[in-house]
């Protein structure tokens, strides 16, 4: 069967998907709900109304919401870290209690509990939801790039992972334990972590956010960096970081993922190939311009029918060496 070349797949696939989305929205979307921030589809940063007369205070909310919408609703809130906003004595009422997130409640109360008179997260857009949360939570390196994160850009908001009222996990009010929470969307990653060779994420030793910042960052795939501004792998695998006199340059230039599949693999040592020499030969091969830049070719006496197929038997310091140009020793 003819295998489709990459280019043949690309554009029809892309076009089809876009058309699919537009058709789906047109068909199912109906009348989009009006933005709750007042302006239609406003995705700007959240600006808190500062008129104190519009706020009623958390105790007023409690009168109706003590057991609504679920039993013990308000008690659950009282036990949560967010309740501590009610203890703040320096800031105005717009920073206190329920109304710190849901906005002023006076109209809602006077409307007899009219849901359209207060901000509810259920039908808000991801940008609106996140703007509310980030108004308090974005200050710090961890959250400062969420507005440009892959999650928000794909319509994933704070409340898709965190649940202030009904968190299953008390720590960080998570909706689900990691990594199950992440697997909920990143299914292709779940199968990788269920390979024979894998980082121990399912075992609870390593977490997704050890290597990735789910709140976004400047590096590809929201990868974190080490404290000394190196690739995140070196936080644990520090002996590979160097610097070395004789670097295996691809490690430093292209990163560990040039040879390894970091999540998991059916190949030993998470390598991209099952047999180590076939991986090495892909770079260390003769080419049309053998004197040009690039990896040196495999010597002509390296008979692959013999011990030379086990490249790392001799080249033990494959990630870099300080004393041997052939990486025979560390």
């Amino acid at each position: 069967m003819k295998r489709l070349a990459p280019l043949e797949l690309t554009f029809p696939f892309l076009l089809g998907l876009i058309l699919f989305f537009l058709a789906a929205v047109h068909t199912f979307g109906g009348q989009p709900p009006r933005s709750q921030s007042g302006k239609k589809n406003d995705q700007k940063s959240y600006s808190r109304p500062t008129d104190p007369s519009q706020y009623v205070g958390a105790e007023t909310c409690k009168t109706c919401h003590e057991d609504m919408p679920t039993k013990g609703f308000y008690k659950n809130y009282e036990d949560s870290p967010h309740y501590e906003t009610t203890l703040d004595t320096r800031k105005g009422p717009e920073w206190h209690g329920c109304e710190a997130c849901h906005g002023p409640g006076k109209a809602h109360v006077e409307g007899g509990g009219d849901k359209t008179k207060i901000f509810t997260f259920k039908n808000a857009s991801a940008a609106e939801i996140s703007a509310r949360c980030l108004d308090c939570h974005q200050y710090g390196e961890e959250h400062s790039n969420f507005a440009r994160s892959a999650h928000l850009q794909n319509g994933v908001s704070c409340t898709d992972c965190h649940d202030p009222h009904h968190a299953k996990e008390s720590q960080f009010l998570m909706k689900e334990k990691a990594p199950q929470l992440c697997y909920g969307c990143h299914q292709e990653v779940k199968q990788q972590f269920n390979r024979t060779f894998h980082h121990r994420v399912n075992e609870g030793l390593v977490q997704c956010n050890d290597c990735h910042n789910p709140h976004g960052g400047f590096l590809t795939r929201s990868a974190r960096a080490t404290s000394s501004q190196d690739i995140v792998c070196f936080k644990c695998h520090a002996d590979k970081a160097g610097p070395f006199v004789y670097e295996h340059k691809s490690v430093k230039i292209e990163g560990c993922a040039a040879c390894h599949t970091p999540h998991g693999s059916s190949n030993a040592r998470l390598l991209k190939r099952a047999q180590v020499n076939l991986l090495c030969l892909e770079c260390h091969a003769f080419s049309a311009d053998p004197t040009g830049p690039g990896a040196p070719p495999t010597p002509s006496f390296h008979n692959q029918a013999q011990k030379y197929q086990a490249c790392t038997l001799c080249h033990t310091a494959i990630h870099g060496s300080n004393t041997d140009q052939f990486m025979f020793k560390p």
């Binding site: 892309l14 929205v25 779940k190 520090a238 011990k307 004393t323 020793k329």
Partner: protein, 828 residues
């Protein structure tokens, strides 16, 4: 020691401790503890003083029944039997949020008692005053998977070889362990303190520690590949001090000072002379891992030592009596970092970060000593030493901005700059002594000439003229080698984002990435050649600038001194990459969420052959809540890459398609089920040499630039099917049953080198394998606070040697493991 196809049956041979534990667990399960009065408190915890306290502890024991390849089991799973603390959690919460020392405390740990993964976490905070976060992790890593560094010795017997190595077959040639086996422990600690978290100026302190310790095996290529014991010992300490300033409205500015200190004290020795491999004088030697009689490895007539037929090791062989390689590596990297985030202007979100690391590395006490022989060069003793001095300098700057142009339209820009360079220098001194065979100590040459280095003679050295061969290197080498590697990278991603409705949004952007990679080296040195052949030998490659001229001899037949002029080399690679970025997300109805994004990139150059110049990446994710009890997820991930350069012809793809469902038709029944298919493919032209005879033969192309080499398109496929289900039911009150599985099947292929005369021990490794982990368990909550649990896990690994692929001589590395974990959980 290879322990294949045996059974480790702890059902029958369980230890006393385990039996006691089982008995205790059963007693606890049956114990009519008067805990019913606390039924109401289980969910709420207990109030004590100003705190609400919730605690749970789960303890028990695991019993294992294993068969097959235990080494593979320990490499993959490594869950052993014995008593365990399976989990312990304490949560304390101040009732009035105004406790004296802390308002919240969380402590959790699991895995203690012998599991390979142990984790403890502590979080303590007091509102407005401080927050402490401590995480300690310890993992044990066992590795004995006989593949990557294995020379895959055939069973061809050695003439006159000792038992197991001689006729009829060299059964002991087949390595029972991985040449790079290891059994290490890693301890990771991350501790941080945040002071005054809500104030305008807050302080952060942090400390991290990462240690790796434990033994492993390794090898060194000195004529042969000697077996080494590598004692891993590395430590990283990281200290952090940070201050956050929130003096301006909606603006945070942070300054961090970080100090990272790496200590590498891994040492290597060779304690493995084989008593079966001895010289005629009875001295045992290490002949290394490579034992291939047909290929004369480690040497021709390996057991041809005198007297003939004795089986003594041929004294002309390459072998080692002992070897040692010790060093102290220290890398000291201070880092300064300034970060900023601001919404000061209403329509503009800004964030930025600037960091500078200037680290020093040095290797002191480097001392490598070989006592053995390299037959090619007659090398008999070697002493190699010298300091390594280097720097690692990294400067990074990131800047991100989101400009909300109008309500629905935003412009986003992310800029990343990274520039690092590593200049490192090795000032080496090497003294080499030579002898014609393993039975003869090295000759020590005496001279009145002034030498650049005084070498200590081997303790058994004999005065005389060294017996050099034409391939012998210098007797004394002093080298200064400097290497410099640098990368300058700039990436800018500019996007227009538009939210059509609250249910539909999209973005379109352009990513530009520019990289300049510079590489330079400079070497200079002095070489001393003692007689004999002092004018017929050369320095080793790549410093081989010719033989030492007679004019450089000191005296009539004295040593020859060769000074190598600076040997410089440099290269620079520039890569420019442009990419189109597109993304759409939609929520057509409340219950359906879909997102799609794609990136199509093209670069004008690459640094490695395996890095594609053209890539395309597509991601589609959908979540549909069809009913209150049905949730469906689907995802498509496609990555395509290629480098159409005719000498490379690289094409790659990675496609993953997944679907899953979460069903809860009734309150007491939950099902999660899913399937994922992953298809990985790669092709690239490679040149190599294999079984020499007949290459290149019919249908096999000769390598255009490698005489005698074969060129083939190296293909690799890996198709994996992964299915899982997790079924939970509560048929009776307080009773929970669970059944599930994670099942992976992999089928793949790779290039078979030399298709005309198959290499008998070429491996496909685990490319055709099944990895099965079904599990099930019962839980019974016999009082409000006490729950008894009994869980079963099965781990099965099966390599299929009949799947049309050649398997290595160790395959299959199959194992089966039945694990039963009995535990009791007490919670209040």
């Amino acid at each position: 020691m290879r322990l294949t196809m045996k059974i480790r049956n702890y059902w029958l041979h369980s230890s006393k401790a385990a039996m006691c534990l089982l008995l205790t667990a059963v007693l606890l399960l049956l114990s009519p503890l008067a805990a019913r009065a606390q039924q109401e408190e289980e969910q709420k915890g207990v109030d004590q003083g100003n705190y609400n306290i919730k605690q749970s502890i789960e303890f028990g024991g695991r019993f294992t029944n294993l068969s097959g390849d235990f080494q593979a089991y320990d490499t993959f799973v490594n869950l052993q039997q014995g008593p365990r603390l399976l989990g312990f959690t304490t949560e304390m919460r101040s009732l009035d949020h105004h406790a004296t020392f802390f308002d919240r405390l969380y402590f959790n740990n699991f895995g203690y008692g012998g599991d390979p993964n142990m984790v403890s976490r502590l979080r303590v905070s007091k509102n407005k005053w401080y927050g402490v976060d401590a995480l300690f992790r310890k993992d044990e890593n066992f590795w004995n998977y006989s593949l990557q560094a294995n020379p895959l010795n055939p069973t061809t017997p050695f003439t006159n070889g000792p038992a197991g190595y001689g006729p009829p077959a060299c059964t002991s040639c087949v390595l029972g362990v991985s040449p790079h086996l290891f059994n290490t422990r890693r301890k990771l600690g991350d501790y941080s303190l945040l002071v005054l978290p809500d104030s305008k100026i807050r302080f952060r302190l942090g400390y991290s520690r990462n240690t790796v310790e434990g033994p492993g095996l390794s090898s060194i290529h000195e004529g042969t590949e000697q077996i080494l014991l590598e004692n891993y010992k590395t430590t990283v300490n990281t200290y952090r001090l940070g201050v956050d300033f929130r003096l301006l409205p909606r603006t945070n500015i942070s300054y961090d000072q970080i100090w990272n200190y790496y200590k590498g004290d891994t040492g290597i020795t060779d304690p493995f002379p084989n008593p079966l491999f001895h010289l005629s004088n009875g001295t045992p030697v290490d002949l290394g891992w490579s034992l291939n009689a047909g290929a004369s490895q480690p040497c021709g007539n390996t057991f041809g030592g005198a007297p003939p037929g004795s089986g003594n090791v041929n004294p002309l062989c390459s072998a080692a009596f002992n070897y040692s390689n010790q060093r102290r590596t220290r890398t000291n990297t201070p880092t300064e970092q300034l970060t900023m985030q601001s919404n000061y202007w209403k329509d503009l979100d800004l964030s930025g970060r600037v960091g500078y690391s200037g680290g020093d590395t040095n290797v002191s006490g480097y001392n490598e000593i070989l006592n053995g022989r390299t037959s090619r060069s007659n090398l008999r003793n070697d002493s190699f030493t010298g300091p390594v001095l280097g720097r690692r300098v990294a400067a990074t700057a990131d800047f991100g901005a989101t400009w909300h142009i109008v309500g629905n339209l935003s412009f986003l820009d992310s800029f990343h700059f990274a520039n690092w360079h590593n200049p490192v220098q090795f000032l080496s001194s090497e003294c080499t002594f030579f002898s014609p065979n393993l039975l003869t100590p090295a000759n020590v040459f005496s001279t009145t000439a002034t030498l650049p280095l005084a070498c200590a003679a081997p303790s058994d050295g004999l005065a005389g003229t060294p017996m050099h061969s034409a391939s012998s290197g210098p007797d004394i080498s002093i080298l200064s080698v400097s290497h410099f590697l640098k990368q300058d990278e700039k990436t800018n991603l500019a996007e227009i984002e538009y939210q059509f409705t609250p249910r539909l949004g999209g973005r379109l952007g352009h990513r530009y990435r520019s990289r300049t990679i510079a590489d330079a080296s400079l070497a200079s040195g002095i070489f001393v050649f003692f007689p004999n052949l002092q004018n017929g030998r050369t320095p080793p490659a790549p410093y081989n600038t010719g033989t030492c001229p007679v004019a450089n001899n000191v005296g009539a037949n004295g040593p020859c001194l060769l000074t190598m002029a600076g040997l410089a080399d440099s290269a620079e690679t520039q890569i420019h990459e442009n990419a189109a970025v597109v993304g759409v997300w939609a929520r057509p109805v409340d219950n359906l969420r879909v997102s799609f994004d794609a990136e199509i990139a093209k670069a004008d150059n690459t640094f490695t052959r395996i890095t594609p110049t053209e890539t395309k990446e597509f991601r589609l994710r959908a979540k549909y809540k069809a009913a209150s009890w049905v949730s469906l997820n689907g995802s498509v991930y496609v990555w395509l890459g290629r480098n159409p350069e005719t000498t490379i012809n690289n094409e790659q793809h990675n496609r993953a398609y997944g679907i899953s469902a979460i069903l809860q038709p009734m309150e007491k029944l939950g099902i999660e089920i899913g399937y994922d298919y992953n298809d990985v493919f790669s092709q690239i032209l490679i040149c190599y040499i294999s079984v020499a005879a007949g290459q290149p033969g019919p249908g096999i192309q000769a390598c255009p630039n490698g005489p005698g080499l074969t060129q083939q398109l190296s293909t690799y496929t890996n198709k994996s099917h992964y299915g899982f289900f997790d079924f939970t039911a509560m048929p009776f009150r307080h009773f929970t049953a669970r059944l599930g599985a994670n099942l992976t099947g992999t089928a793949g292929s790779q290039l078979r080198l030399d298709p005309q005369a198959l290499i008998p021990n070429q491996v496909t490794g685990p490319l055709n394998s099944k990895w099965l982990h079904p599990f099930g368990g019962l839980e019974y909550q016999f009082t409000k606070n006490w729950t008894g649990k009994a869980y079963w896990d099965y781990y099965g690994y099966h390599e299929d040697p009949t799947a049309g692929a050649v398997q290595d001589i160790f395959a299959p590395r199959n194992f089966r493991g039945n694990l039963v974990t009995l535990s009791v959980r007490y919670a209040f």
